[in-house]
C-alpha cells in the first residue's frame, strides 16, 4: 500500500516534468506572445536525443549526456524559430498557430521515421535503489532516481530564475516582454534574445524528456498529451509567468496523481480538467498572471 508521502513524491516527479515543459511555453509566450504548439514535440525530441546519446555513446556519463542533449535540443529549438517562426512575427495569429502545429507534426514524423514508432525506455542511468533515509524516517519507499529527478528539476528551475532575474540577458528577455519595439534602441539584438529564449525553453524541455524517459517511457507521440498538459499547467499558473508555470505544473500533477491513487484512474483527466476550469473561473488570467498589459 502506497503511502501519501509516496504519492506526493510521484506527484512531484510528474509535476517537475510538466514544469520543465511549461516553462518553455510560458517564456516564449511571455516575450513574443507566441504559443508554440510544437513545444511538446521538442520535449519528445529531447527525450529521443537523450536516448540516442545513451545508446550510441554509452560511455558518456549521465551528467555529461544530459547537458549535451539539452544543448542539441536547444539548437533544434533555435533552428525552428529561425526557419519557421521568425518570418511570421508580424503575421496573423492563425497563420502562426497553424505553423507551430505543422512543426509539431513534422517533428513527430521525423522521429517516427528515423527511430521508429515503438515505445522505449531510456536505459536507467540514475541509481534506482530506495532512499533508505526516507524509508526509515517517513516509511516511504522512494527511489533515488525519483528523488534526483525532482531535485535536478528544481535546480534547473532555480538556475532559470537566476538567469531571468539576475543577468543582463534575463533583463533583456523581460524587456522584450515589456516593450519589444524599444529593445533594439538599447543596442540589443532582438533576434538574439528571442533565439536565446527558444534555446533555454528547448533545453529545459529536453531535460524534461530525459527525466520522463527515465521515469516512464518515451514514444514519438508523447509530446502531444504531455505538451497539452504542460500548456494547461502554464495557463493555470498564468502564462507568461515563470513562477506560475511551476506552480500550475505541480498543482496539475498533484491533482492527477491523487485522483488516480484515491479515486479512479478513469476520473483522472475529468477531475483534473474540471478543477482547472474552476480555477480559471476564479483567476481568468491564471493564478500568477496579470491581465495582459496594454500596448503603450
Amino acid at each position: 500500500m502506497d503511502t501519501v508521502i509516496q504519492q506526493l513524491f510521484n506527484a512531484a516527479q510528474l509535476g517537475a516534468v510538466y514544469a520543465l515543459i511549461a516553462l518553455g511555453y510560458s517564456m516564449v509566450y511571455g516575450i513574443i506572445r507566441l504559443i508554440n504548439f510544437a513545444h511538446g514535440d521538442i520535449f519528445m525530441l529531447g527525450g529521443f536525443i537523450g536516448l540516442l546519446l545513451t545508446t550510441h555513446l554509452g560511455w558518456l556519463p549521465f551528467y555529461l549526456m544530459m547537458p549535451l542533449a539539452m544543448l542539441l535540443t536547444a539548437l533544434a529549438g533555435v533552428a525552428i524559430e529561425r526557419v519557421a517562426y521568425r518570418r511570421l512575427r508580424h503575421a496573423q495569429r492563425m497563420s502562426v498557430v497553424i505553423t507551430t502545429l505543422g512543426v509539431g507534426i513534422f517533428l513527430e514524423n521525423l522521429v517516427r521515421l528515423t527511430v521508429g514508432p515503438e515505445t522505449r525506455q531510456l536505459p536507467a542511468r540514475l541509481p534506482t535503489a530506495p532512499v533508505l533515509w526516507l524509508q526509515n524516517t517517513l516509511g516511504a519507499f522512494v527511489t533515488w532516481d525519483k528523488l534526483l529527478i525532482i531535485l535536478l528539476s528544481l535546480a534547473l528551475m532555480a538556475i532559470l530564475w537566476l538567469v531571468i532575474n539576475k543577468t543582463l540577458v534575463g533583463t533583456a528577455m523581460r524587456a522584450v516582454a515589456d516593450n519589444k519595439d524599444v529593445v533594439p534602441l538599447m543596442g540589443v539584438n532582438l533576434n538574439l534574445i528571442i533565439a536565446a529564449t527558444f534555446a533555454i525553453g528547448s533545453a529545459l524541455a529536453a531535460a524534461g524528456g530525459i527525466f520522463y524517459g527515465q521515469a516512464y517511457s518515451i514514444d514519438p507521440y508523447m509530446g502531444i498529451d504531455l505538451g497539452w498538459k504542460a500548456f494547461i499547467a502554464a495557463v493555470i499558473g498564468g502564462i507568461g509567468s515563470i513562477e506560475g508555470a511551476v506552480l500550475g505544473s505541480f498543482l496539475l500533477a498533484g491533482v492527477e496523481v491523487l485522483t488516480v491513487a484515491y479515486l479512479s484512474s478513469n476520473l483522472k483527466n475529468g477531475i483534473a480538467f474540471g478543477l482547472l476550469i474552476l480555477l480559471l473561473l476564479v483567476w481568468p488570467s491564471g493564478i500568477m498572471g496579470k491581465p495582459m498589459l496594454k500596448k503603450v
Partner: protein, 245 residues
C-alpha cells in the same frame, strides 16, 4: 563630414505616405530641432533614421555610411541613440535595470562608470529611485530615465522625440537644462518638439515639417522670428497632445 545627412527621404505606412522626400543635415556638436504640427511626420523621420521603420525612398547617411544595411541595434553601437515618442520605458524593469540594459553595447568598464556618473549627475533623482519599477515613476522621472538610457548607450547623436510631452512647465525647464548640458559635453542632439518656444531657445538650427514636407529651415533665432512659425507654433506655449500616437 556631417554627422547625419538625410537625403530625399520618403516613408510610407502602407498606402499612407508620411514623408515626401525630405533633406536634413546635422553637424557634430549641434542641437537641431525638428518642428511641426501633429501628424507632420516628425516621429516618422526619427524612426526612419534609427531604422525602426523601413525607408520608401531616399537615403540616410550616419558618419558618411548609409544606414540602410545596418540593423537598429548596430546603429546604437555606432553611437546613435533614440529616445522614442512616449519614452518607451520598460515598466516592469527597475530604473537600474532600464539603465543597465541600455549599456548593453558598452564593454569598457571605465566608460560604463563614466556613463553612470553622467546620468546620476544630471538626474540625481534616478539614483535615489534605482530600485523602483520604471512603470511606477512619474512622467517627469520617466522622461529623465528615457534620456538617461540614451546616455548609457554612450551616444554621439541623440534623437529625442518630444521630451517635453506631458510635463509641467517646471519639469520641461529641467529637462531642457539637462539637454543643454548633454550638448555642452559634446553630444549632438536632433530634437523633435511641438514646444517650439523651448526647442528654438536651445537649438542652433531648426527645420519645420508640414504634411511630410520640409517647409522652412534656418538658424533657430531666425526661425523664432519667422511669422509663419510664430503664428503656427509659438502662439500656444503648451501644446496639447493626443494621449497616444
Amino acid at each position: 563630414m556631417s554627422l547625419l545627412r538625410v537625403e530625399n527621404l520618403s516613408v510610407a505606412y502602407g498606402a499612407i505616405q508620411a514623408l515626401h522626400g525630405i533633406d536634413l543635415v546635422i553637424e557634430e556638436g549641434e542641437i537641431v530641432s525638428l518642428l511641426g504640427a501633429n501628424g507632420a511626420g516628425k516621429s516618422t523621420a526619427l524612426r526612419a533614421i534609427s531604422r525602426m521603420i523601413p525607408l520608401r525612398g531616399g537615403d540616410i547617411f550616419y558618419l558618411d555610411q548609409s544606414v540602410k544595411p545596418i540593423p537598429p541595434h548596430r546603429l546604437v553601437a555606432l553611437g546613435m541613440a533614440h529616445v522614442p515618442e512616449g519614452r518607451g520605458i520598460f515598466p516592469n524593469l527597475t530604473v537600474g535595470e532600464n539603465l543597465a540594459l541600455a549599456a548593453w553595447t558598452q564593454k569598457d568598464r571605465g566608460r560604463l562608470a563614466a556613463s553612470y556618473g553622467k546620468v546620476f549627475g544630471l538626474f540625481p533623482r534616478l539614483e535615489e529611485r534605482r530600485e523602483q519599477l520604471g512603470g511606477t515613476l512619474s512622467g517627469g522621472e520617466q522622461q529623465m530615465l528615457a534620456v538617461g538610457r540614451a546616455l548609457m548607450t554612450d551616444c554621439r547623436l541623440m534623437l529625442l522625440d518630444e521630451p517635453s510631452m506631458g510635463l509641467s512647465p517646471l519639469l520641461v525647464k529641467e529637462v531642457f537644462r539637462a539637454l543643454q548640458e548633454i550638448n555642452d559635453q559634446g553630444t549632438t542632439l536632433l530634437l523633435v518638439e511641438q514646444n517650439a518656444h523651448m526647442a528654438l531657445k536651445i537649438a542652433h538650427r531648426g527645420y519645420v515639417l508640414e504634411n511630410g514636407r520640409k517647409v522652412l529651415e534656418g538658424p533657430a533665432a531666425r526661425l523664432a522670428q519667422d511669422p509663419r512659425v510664430k503664428e503656427a507654433y509659438l502662439g500656444v506655449p503648451t501644446p496639447t497632445h493626443p494621449p497616444d500616437d
